[in-house]
């Protein structure tokens, strides 16, 4: 397709509003594997937004690019769990076979190979995205096949189906995962109970948000319902970007009907007519099945106008695809992204419940929260309260990955001990567990009796296991690079601070670190805590500090000198000048300072 024809095909499918910007750019990227020159101006005209905003959005999202990325863009997921499964070696091998350097387009413009943040396949990695489609279980054998398919220019759509197999790997189920197909049961209950009745049951249930912060769901819905406005919105946060988390992927695969039911119940309860499912770009392959399910529900009278035949019960759901930005998991950044802008977190307050999408009251909840809300509506708050602890009712899905015999999804009542999870998943000689992903907490063996619940170890679901063969410095290093890559760049403390932290870790990794660098991490943490704009900056130093506290020897054995050392070779920095002048006298050299 010619770039000039692209817009004629795409635009009629989208509302001609500024909010469609990100979706339109995604469509263009999918067709051309980049945003061709000149088309940005046409998009700006068509959607009535400034050109600078179009270019700003292209520059912001990892999966959009104004430079050609080749007909095959292969992105290796680069979470620590992928690294532990050998993704670096596979990446080098693939680059060798295709005769190219990582991050660079091949000379014939055919293919590029690079890394991307965690793609949510940690239990079946190493993983990659081939033109946006997830491939799991990479091995040398599979890499050979991929290299051959690229060389023979076979379209990704014709690659073996087995490559794209994504398993649910449910290892332990509970009330949520055991729930059968949902075809209006919770909706029926909601219509019977009336909006206030639904909120009453939610309050009674003690349900708290599953995205990590744990805000009481009933209070959120009530606040949105009571906010004065003519329009309200429901948003489901399925931008599951926290490395090591993949439980929403499984819910979207197996229990999307329950999710849609929960969103619809929310819409009818708070008085919203429209809901958005913000699906992370890495889960692009789920788009068609989800669209089909939405159609099915519309035909069954579970979505659309006069739901279940009740006049005025109108609600529909639109799916919005992300484009590779971790920060969009923050609810206000997610709303910005829904509005077609760069995903920069807003100042809060005001909170989305009063000023959300298009400044209208908006409920933003996690996938798991909507599913749980549907169950509460169906079975009642008392039933829900029967599981979990006093402050953390119900069950929680854990995404277990790393060093264990049975990685996958585990559903437990809140309050389960870390040790129990480790036993159930067959983890041996465990050195550490990263609970809640890089922005969560890293714990060591003396803490394995701690409980997973809001009272103790709060978690959004990531559970990455490291055994005693692992180097915890490498883990911290990986997380540090992740935060530097994912900082949105809006506020200087985070943009510069995460890069400085990355620089410190690289310096220590290269053997130039001293005590000075370890102290610098604490200083940086103070600056970020005090001055970063959002939670990304606030938590960026956490993994390093957690691991310094618990696994200091992993850092200290890399320190070679008590005195400060430059992170570059000073004498080597004179080599170019020596070559140009032909000098090699004593003054043309710098000795290394004694340690």
């Amino acid at each position: 397709m010619q770039p000039s024809d692209t817009l004629d095909t795409i635009l009629p499918l989208r509302p001609r509003r500024p909010e469609s910007l990100l979706q339109v750019l995604r469509d263009i990227q999918e067709i051309h594997n980049h945003i061709p020159a000149g088309i940005d101006l046409a998009v700006a005209d068509a959607l009535d937004v400034p050109l600078a905003r179009v270019r700003g959005v292209i520059g912001f999202y990892s999966f959009l690019s104004s430079e050609p990325q080749g007909r095959y863009r292969l992105l290796f997921s680069d979470n620590i769990t992928d690294r532990m499964l050998g993704n670096q070696d596979l990446l080098q091998t693939l680059c060798g076979k295709l005769w190219l350097e990582p991050g660079k387009l091949s000379e014939d413009g055919l293919v590029s190979v690079d890394t991307t943040s965690c793609t949510g396949m940690c239990d079946q990695g190493p993983a990659m995205l081939a033109n946006g489609r997830a491939i799991t279980r990479l091995s040398h054998h599979r890499i050979n096949e991929i290299a051959e398919l690229v060389r023979s220019q076979t379209p990704v759509a014709d690659w073996p189906v087995e490559f794209f197999r994504v398993d649910d790997q449910i290892r332990q189920s509970g009330p949520l995962l055991d729930c059968g197909p949902m075809a209006g049961e919770a909706l029926e209950a909601a219509l019977d109970r009336s909006p206030d009745g639904v909120i009453e049951q939610l309050n009674l249930s003690g349900l708290r948000g599953r995205g990590g912060a744990g805000f009481p769901t009933g209070r959120k819905w009530a606040a949105c319902k009571e906010a004065s406005a003519d329009t309200r919105y429901v948003v489901c946060n399925a931008d599951e970007g926290e490395p090591g988390t993949f439980k929403d992927r499984v819910l979207l695969t197996r229990h999307a009907d329950l999710l849609f039911e929960g969103m619809t119940v929310c819409g009818l309860t708070v008085g919203a007519k429209l809901g958005f499912l913000y699906l992370r770009g890495e889960y692009r392959y789920l788009l068609e099945p989800l669209q089909q399910l939405l159609d099915k529900r519309r035909q069954a009278g579970l979505l659309g106008v006069n739901i279940r035949g009740q006049a005025g019960a109108d609600f529909d759901i639109v799916i919005h695809l992300g484009a590779g930005a971790y920060v969009c998991g923050e609810e206000s950044a997610l709303i910005e992204s829904l509005e077609g802008k760069r995903g920069i977190p807003r100042n809060r307050p005001p909170f989305p419940v009063t000023h959300g999408y298009l400044q209208k009251p908006t409920v933003v909840n996690n996938v798991e929260t909507f599913c749980a809300a549907a169950l509460v509506t169906l079975h009642g708050g008392d039933w829900f309260k029967g599981h979990g602890t006093a402050q953390s009712t119900g069950s929680k899905l854990l995404s277990v990955s790393g060093d264990c015999a049975r990685p996958g999804i585990y559903e437990y009542p809140f309050g389960i001990t870390v040790r129990q999870v480790l036993t159930d998943c067959g983890a041996a000689n465990t050195l550490a567990v990263q609970v809640g992903g890089p922005s969560g907490t890293c714990i060591g063996p003396h803490e394995f009796d701690r409980r997973l619940c809001f009272e103790d170890l709060a978690t959004a679901g990531a559970f990455m296991i490291f055994d005693d063969t692992r180097d915890m410095f490498e883990v911290a290093h990986n997380f540090t690079d992740f935060f530097a890559h994912e900082s949105c760049g809006f506020c200087t403390p985070c943009r510069v601070g995460t890069s400085m932290l990355k620089g410190i870790m690289a310096k220590v990794a290269a053997g130039h670190g001293t005590r000075h660098e370890l102290d610098e991490v604490e200083q940086l943490d103070k600056v970020l805590q005090q001055s970063a704009h959002c939670g990304l900056g606030h938590t960026a130093c956490n993994p390093t500090l957690d691991m310094l506290k618990r696994f200091r020897p992993a850092f200290e054995r890399r320190l070679k000198s008590l005195n400060f050392q430059p992170d570059f070779d000073l004498d080597g920095a004179l080599a170019r000048a020596r070559a140009m002048t032909g000098r090699d006298d004593a003054g043309a050299h710098l000795r290394t300072e004694e340690a």
């Binding site: 000073l570 000048a577 006298d585």
Partner: protein
């Protein structure tokens, strides 16, 4: 009380920071009741001895800068990066995105109108580093005094704080980023 010994120098800088220090004007006499100068352009002492405070303006662009910086670090209890060039590399660091060899070739060999005398190779001349670095990338730096230049009042506040034994703190208006 014994006077604090202070050394100062300008590396890859323009002496503007030193001029700004002198802009404390008559307060210099008050300051000299509490400090005495070691190596500095004001005394013309060539090498620095044991000192309490070292003030360095300018970044690190050549081998001699490295040697002087190391001499200061060895001798000064407190080392201060003074001004934009010392803190970030500043104006001289604008050459960092150019290849040093290409720079030397253009300046000494190909640029019309310049004497075609070849690239200077006298051993008396310090060799340039391939990149200009801020001080803290080469040695540990204790304090940073930002600004181009830092205002005279910032020098005054900083030094009087240290003389009084307080942790230096620059209030509103004293921290400059340009």
């Amino acid at each position: 009380m014994a006077k604090l010994r202070v050394a100062t120098t300008s590396l890859a800088g323009c002496f503007g920071c030193h001029m700004s220090l002198l802009d404390i004007d008559e307060r210099l006499f008050e300051l000299l009741k509490h400090i005495e100068f070691d190596r500095t352009p004001l005394t013309d002492i060539k090498h620095c001895g044991p000192c309490d405070i070292g003030l360095i303006e300018g970044g690190i662009c050549n081998a001699e800068n490295v040697e002087v910086l190391r001499e200061f670090r060895r001798n000064c209890k407190i080392l201060v990066a003074v001004g934009a060039c010392a803190v970030t590399g500043g104006l001289p660091a604008q050459r960092n995105h150019l290849d040093l060899g290409a720079c030397l070739t253009e300046v000494y060999l190909t640029e019309p109108g310049l004497a075609h005398g070849g690239i200077p190779n006298d051993p008396e001349l310090p060799l340039p580093l391939d990149k200009v670095h801020p001080l803290h990338e080469v040695v540990k730096v204790d304090y940073f005094l930002p600004g181009c230049p830092p205002p005279a009042d910032a020098f005054w506040q900083f030094l009087t704080d240290l003389v009084a034994g307080r942790t230096p703190e620059l209030g509103h208006g004293l921290i400059k980023y340009d």
